[in-house]
Symmetry: C3
Subunit: 346 residues, 3 copies
Amino acid sequence: MKFTVGQIAQVVGGAVEGDAEATVSSLAKIEEAGPGALAFLANAKYEPFLYTTRATAVIVSPEQPLRQAVAASLIRVADPYSAFSKLLEFYAQATRVGKRGVEQPSYLGEGSTIGAGHYRGAFSYVGEGCVIGENVLIFPHAFIGDRVRIGDNSIIHAGAKIYADTIIGQRCVVKAGAVVGTDGFGFAPQPDGSYKAIPQIGNVVLEDDVSIGANATVDCATMGSTVVRQGAKIDNLVQLAHNVEVGRHTVIAAQTGLAGSAKIGAFCVLAGQVGVSGHVTMPNKTTVTAQSGVGKSFKQEGLFLQGSTAFDFKQNQRAQVVFRRLPELEQRVAALEKSSPAPDKP
Amino acid sequence: MKFTVGQIAQVVGGAVEGDAEATVSSLAKIEEAGPGALAFLANAKYEPFLYTTRATAVIVSPEQPLRQAVAASLIRVADPYSAFSKLLEFYAQATRVGKRGVEQPSYLGEGSTIGAGHYRGAFSYVGEGCVIGENVLIFPHAFIGDRVRIGDNSIIHAGAKIYADTIIGQRCVVKAGAVVGTDGFGFAPQPDGSYKAIPQIGNVVLEDDVSIGANATVDCATMGSTVVRQGAKIDNLVQLAHNVEVGRHTVIAAQTGLAGSAKIGAFCVLAGQVGVSGHVTMPNKTTVTAQSGVGKSFKQEGLFLQGSTAFDFKQNQRAQVVFRRLPELEQRVAALEKSSPAPDKP
Amino acid sequence: MKFTVGQIAQVVGGAVEGDAEATVSSLAKIEEAGPGALAFLANAKYEPFLYTTRATAVIVSPEQPLRQAVAASLIRVADPYSAFSKLLEFYAQATRVGKRGVEQPSYLGEGSTIGAGHYRGAFSYVGEGCVIGENVLIFPHAFIGDRVRIGDNSIIHAGAKIYADTIIGQRCVVKAGAVVGTDGFGFAPQPDGSYKAIPQIGNVVLEDDVSIGANATVDCATMGSTVVRQGAKIDNLVQLAHNVEVGRHTVIAAQTGLAGSAKIGAFCVLAGQVGVSGHVTMPNKTTVTAQSGVGKSFKQEGLFLQGSTAFDFKQNQRAQVVFRRLPELEQRVAALEKSSPAPDKP
């Protein structure tokens, strides 16, 4: 994809200063841009880069003064950040998610329907009785089991596996290699110490605007549904066990794990590598720092938790500081004991 | 799948009270059931739900008294829980793992044999010289390398990858996206600080009744075998490194990792996000709590470990409690020092 | 694969003592070897196994004395370890990575080129405009997006997903199920508490000799590149977020996660389950022990860090020791307070 600076200016409704025939083929930050790149300047702090950037063109505001010579062509437009954001989306669309049509071989099971404007990559598999909306992209090697429903404008990336009876809303993204709806880890202990698998017949429901990260795993419910509510964003390699519920617009960073039946509220933020025990309830707007372990339910909204097991962040921070000088603290106690007048030391 | 209440009653050998023509199409817990669902009541604690449930039908015992009006049809049977369990298995069989036959295109390498009653999904790959037993289900996108052996009644889920020379027993389940038998992380440091890969030529052995979770990884041995013994259950996103051994009927929860040559005994329970260092030996019946790190070998059976690094659970719990008030403890020491008569404070 | 002891001796340039017609079909450690296996003895410590091994043949040095009867055939060669290493590589080549040619069905997009000596497994997918070098192995179910470049002698294992615009060097290995180049976890918070995805248009660059583990995830950069430098080895289930940089010959063990824009130096070692916060800079030759969390940047090279959050290893070890006896320490302070003469205790 190559465009002239003049063409870009037309798209964003801007005016060119400099070479309108220069061509750009990528988008970059002004401080990192090289030849052929288009950058933008919206924050005055970055102005010095305007005079040193190797970008071929830079989008700037109409008022941007030029205090030194500028090598790049300029495109002047009222809101440089918004103009650049539009170009970013256009670029992503053109290079990453603009696929349409059906590549062969691909598999479409009996009784399954799929709306207009879709993409089904080669080696993608759609089982029987599925109902798939419009403009849905199904990348190569994606597996969609029987009776799955997927809403409009959702994207199922390469090699994602969506098991039978899963329900996926609109504008959802399931990234490459994610597994949604496989059997949970449910085993009944037997008298001899062995385990017997408990049939898992529930499903997974992803509401609208949910994102599931690459190689993440979301188990189906034993009965009923494992639910990820509207707008929740789940990062790579996260584990959501059977019957978990994740609240609206909650963000869960990479490698975090929620054990069976944990219920996380809305607008929560769980950082990376956090663990949440089974059946724990977490209220709305809870924040948990990285590597923390939440072992019990909390009731108050807006808590900020840290530690394994987790408690109040500030209290944890203070305890951490003393932890580092524990050897010295112990020596101080020993010194006090030595000088103590008490005859009945422990 | 729709059945009348009368049909269900026949299957479980029960007697109908109420509308035998009502139809049910799902199974649910009595407290969560909606119209069209069949539930059960086995525990007296749940009896109040019998009078409020929206389930279309409920399985109850012959002796169950009715203290209020019940809207649902009832199926009376001697052991409601067992009857319901049978229906669960039947439902799972019918909707999830009842596939048979071969979908095309699928790949079967030269010299490979597969027993009667199997399923090979579209885009499944079986390499050369494999010996696969009866009633084995191989879901779409599963990869089975050369010379792999799989016992009767095992299930290889969508997109699971079984590398060359792996041996899988009977009634094993390898869930979606799991990788079994790929090269371990073996590198020889070179004089210049770089690393050279050490050829990994061993394999993985999964004994009978083993379950491997979605997107879990089990590396092959450098030489010899990485072994998961009979009945062990491994959850999603678990890492078992080269030459690891997991004992019989041991359970390992999600996101736990065992480093190279770690040997875990039988009947152990490792909770989620646990780490076990390389070459560590863990005796039978060891329990390790979530997020713990086992950095050394233990000898006594039946230990209950916590912490990173892990030691006795109760001792760790007590230390955790004091950890939270470390700042106060330090202040108390400072106060003692201030009032101490000793002239030779440290 | 079966060879006679005599054939092996010819390959490694050795002399046979004993039965040259005995056949071997596997390689094993001398202490674990069974019938049909070939082992080696290079370290005097292992000599006792020479007299008890069940191996069919053992490679030994010309000077190796025989103090007892030896049942195995011997192959005498100047450097037994090197000879055995060559056989290991030969065996791995023959059994694991010796595939060549194209299996059908496989998909090769328009305008993509691939060099001589390659393997493309059944159901492998190569998008449009890719440039793939010589002797590249692409296993079944591998997904290679548009415009990807892959250098000579690299291996893309089963079900690995390489997203659009990724650049992979020579002699790289991407293991089964790894996801390289998918969108990062970038969301802009909206005034109503919801999140909007930020288009991710950067890519991933893997320099020469890089290894990416099974089911690991490497996100593309928001803009620019996520970079793994020459010779770095990344283990299974590791997460490298958008815009991360991993230095040359750095080793990252399983289940470790690096948050967005973290920059790790060269010759570092990160053990398993480590977490590194976003934007953290880690200098060359830093070592981080398992389950540690690096929450801030460090400047000095060669540090050895432990803990969550991480600080100096030795200091952490000493603090850990006192942590275990915190309850006793608190009791000692209480005893001192009881016997303290000060009237103004806190």
